[in-house]
Assembly symmetry: C2
DNA sequence: TAAAGTTTTTAGGTTTGCCTAAATTATTCA
DNA sequence: TGAATAATTTAGGCAAACCTAAAAACTTTA
């Protein structure tokens, strides 16, 4: 199977399907892809057929889609490119950690293997990107450290923010407002049963964050 | 006039039209654009109409096209991006000078002004790219040093290769075969009246190069 | 200066990637 | 379990950026 050049669209679909599939293990619904990519479900169906014909996903009508082995391989390549560019933008070009995702979203589609390998070498083979996400190596192997979320800590326990899952702009804005970034120390003050929101202490200020928010912030326990 | 985002195609057309126009001074024929971009003349006409409607070129039916002030401004921006990326690829990622053009052709279309300005700063505001071409600054100003060509030297005069105009792969291959690169010292042995080809000495070996080849190699007299 | 040749445009298609509206299938829940 | 609701697909369209073939306009040349 010679490496057929994929379009930017196809690459974005594959990456999203992979991300939704939890490392290729889960079936992915048409609607979930639609929501993530902001593309109407009807169009997603079109593309699923196309990717299906290329054996990058398996698509069962009205059921859902699974990403294939070769689909995963390609998705990991794109993720590798994205995260390496993020490291470059952050470490070398001195962009803030919340400004890099959008630009990397474009750079990731420049597909020269040599380019990425030289970039990797130049950056000294980084293992994680500025959001704490692991970077796949040339072979697609990835350090799969499943960090715990804020909500996994108990009251009075402390942690260091080590990974931000959601990279949408609104989420970044929220984190900024909360004074949360990679490296920030937090302490659990209270866990609210009712809706599983959590009261946490950041720089001596206490705030309550929803379950959804806390799930998107991974930490290292200290 | 707010900066409207142009497509990759539109950007490539503008850059080519600008390059053919000799800094916006000459009218450009539909056929010449067609040849450079490898796109059929009929399609070129389509795009010329489109760019015309956006006031980036003036298109006179059956006559030719002229690039507008704002067209030039955009073209210079794209050229700036292209050449800065070439510097990055060559100086930082250690690509050979004949491997960078193609990759820069992709990178130049990632349009974030901040990205380019930060890259410029990171590279310490380089004035020329690895082929000896001047790099426009943020404002589109460009050091316009019109170097002399090999054919401008007289017999027995010497020069240092300082700029390669043609960046096609075949031309690079030819230069490699001739052992010519930026910095190579050459000496004129003879100038052939018949077809204006030139006999030159490179590393003690003498070769005859055609007028077309010598025109594409700019030098600094020594 | 008119015929021949060249350049450019027009007309009519195609592919990609998207959309809306309507039809179909699956799921929920009363 | 059957009716309402939700998810998904099909059908039909559209814009961008190409193409080929044919027509029209310019240029050369005899
Ligand atoms: Mn990112
Ligand atoms: Mn992307
Ligand atoms: Mn170049
Ligand atoms: Mn280009």
């Amino acid at each position: 199977m010679p490496n057929i050049k994929l379009s930017k669209s196809e690459e974005n679909y594959l990456k999203s399907i992979f991300n939704l599939s939890e490392f290729g293990n889960k079936q992915v619904s048409t609607n979930s892809i639609s929501k993530i990519l902001n593309i109407e479900p009807a169009s997603v169906t079109d593309m699923l057929k196309k990717l299906s014909k290329k054996n990058l996903v398996y698509h069962e009508k009205y059921k859902g889609s699974t990403i294939s082995k070769s689909g995963i391989k390609i998705a990991l390549q794109i993720i590798r490119r994205h995260r390496l560019w993020e490291v470059f933008l952050h470490d070398k070009l001195k962009f803030k950690w919340d400004e890099i995702h959008e630009i990397a979203e474009e750079l990731e589609h420049v597909s020269s293997e040599e380019l990425i390998d030289n970039l990797d070498k130049y950056l000294k083979y980084p293992k994680i990107d500025p959001h704490g996400d692991p970077i796949p190596n040339k072979l697609g192997e990835i350090d799969f450290v499943d960090k715990i979320s804020i909500s996994d800590l108990n009251i009075n326990e402390k942690g260091i923010v080590s990974r931000i899952i959601n990279e949408d702009e609104e989420f970044f804005n929220l984190l900024k407002k909360l004074n949360i970034e990679i490296g920030t120390e937090i302490k659990i003050v209270d866990k609210i049963e009712y809706d599983q929101s959590v009261e946490i202490l950041i720089n001596k200020k206490s705030v309550i964050i929803s379950k959804d928010i806390s799930n998107n912030i991974k930490i290292t326990k200290i």
